[in-house]
Amino acid sequence: MDGDFEPKILGIFCNWCSYAGADMAGTSRMQYPPNVRIVRVLCSGRVDPQFVLKAFELGADGVLVAGCHPGDCHYVKGNYRAERRIALLKEMIKQLGIEPERLMLKWISASEGAELVKTTEEFLTVIKELGPSPLRKKS
């Protein structure tokens, strides 16, 4: 059963760094796991906690939020906001019975295609070990 488990992971990436990093990975023909579906936002500070909760509610097994490194956010403080929101959100989902490891925040710059591949692969391993999200609708 669990051998067949293909996690569904939502990536929410900031346009200026992490999404560009994913592009970089793509143009350099680096493979990253197809389990990660990436949505682009202008800044990690745009990631409304409601988006993350909605993703879990809809059955995502993991959510990966990625933004620019500290000091590099194009809107100056967006990533610091994201960092604090994700910290609180991890606590929130923990109280709701969802393993906090299913939510990850990572800084990935536009030139870090390889880092993106590594991050997504590692995250996939973590999620595979955790198994399907407890909120996944049984089908």
Binding site: R84, M92, Q95
Partner: protein
């Protein structure tokens, strides 16, 4: 002709009904215009008193509380059947309110805690005879029946109730105010807030006029709907969010979590500091609205 009304109590603390009585003299004007056909928390009505009413024969019904047992659910459905207009009265009925934080625990654990483990219990047992079956978790009443009007508040403030009752008696559709609490709060706000420290309510004494959030207290105003008259913040107490989510807010807890995270000073408050300052994230931000949140209850590992 008097207006036929019924007041229904589901699982609740009676605080909303109490608030109705706090209308004092206004009640003297209102009561003669009402014919109360059911109010089992005040007069000894029985379930069959509702059951035998013709469908749609009651003009207005008010429901206080949420459905904790199958009997609550039965009564709620009956109320919908018998009333032309159904008002969700108070935050328990509208969003779940504080007692629904029990959605964070399995019901068996809650029953065992209350009836067997509580410090005051001697030789406890979980009652199983002549009691209605417990529902697994709390859902907002609107997921069971259709409502015509929502009147939130834990409890709704008497002037809010008076406004609604008066317009109903005139045959008008009551209109509730819909901005955020900060809009009606009289405290002085700055354009930019930068918090050097997040304080618990008991720390220090708040300055009398300045916005409480700006002073570092977790005030739910930005994520909360107006309508209570900002009674708490006017009295120096941070808003706990009892009116439920403000306009365009899907999840009050997530919204406030977001707001707080974006106003702290990043050099003074690390993510860990913030988590420590908040302590109980769900209990602080979703105190009144857990069953209406995007994730309305905790999931439990099967043993």
């Amino acid at each position: 002709m008097p207006v036929k009304v019924m007041f229904v109590q589901l699982a609740s603390c009676w605080g909303c009904h109490q608030s109705l009585l706090d209308l004092h003299e206004t009640l003297a004007d209102v009561l003669p215009q009402l014919e109360i056909v059911f109010w089992h928390t005040v007069v000894d009505y029985k379930l069959h008193d509702v059951e035998k009413l013709p469908d749609g024969s009651v003009d207005v019904g008010f429901t206080e509380g949420f459905c904790r047992t199958e009997e609550d659910l039965h009564l709620l459905k009956l109320a919908r059947q018998k009333c032309k207009l159904l008002v969700s009265y108070g935050t328990c009925s509208t969003y779940g309110s504080i007692p629904s934080l029990l959605n964070l625990y399995p019901i068996e654990e809650a029953l065992s805690r209350k009836f067997k483990e509580a410090e005051s219990v001697v030789e406890g047992r979980i009652p199983d005879k002549h009691v209605p079956k417990m529902l697994e978790h709390v859902k907002p009443n609107r997921e069971y029946v259709k409502y015509d009007l929502f009147l939130p508040g834990c409890p709704p403030e008497p002037p809010l109730i008076a406004g609604v009752v008066t317009s109903l008696l005139k045959g008008e559709t009551p209109k509730l105010k819909e901005r955020t609490l900060c809009d009606e709060c009289p405290r002085v706000k700055s354009d930019v807030i930068v918090l050097k420290k997040v304080k618990r309510d008991f720390e220090g004494i708040p300055e009398p006029e300045k916005c409480l959030l700006e002073q570092g207290y977790i005030c739910m105003g930005p994520a909360t709907r107006e309508g209570c008259g900002a009674v708490c913040t006017s009295a120096g107490v941070p808003c706990k969010g009892c009116m439920g989510p403000g306009p365009n807010v899907m999840d009050q807890g997530a919204k406030m979590l977001s707001a707080l995270a974006s106003i702290v000073d990043y050099e003074s408050v690390s993510p860990e500091d913030l988590v420590k300052a908040v302590k109980d994230v769900v209990g602080t931000f979703s105190r009144f609205t857990l069953p209406s949140s995007i994730i309305p209850k905790a999931v439990f590992k099967k043993k």
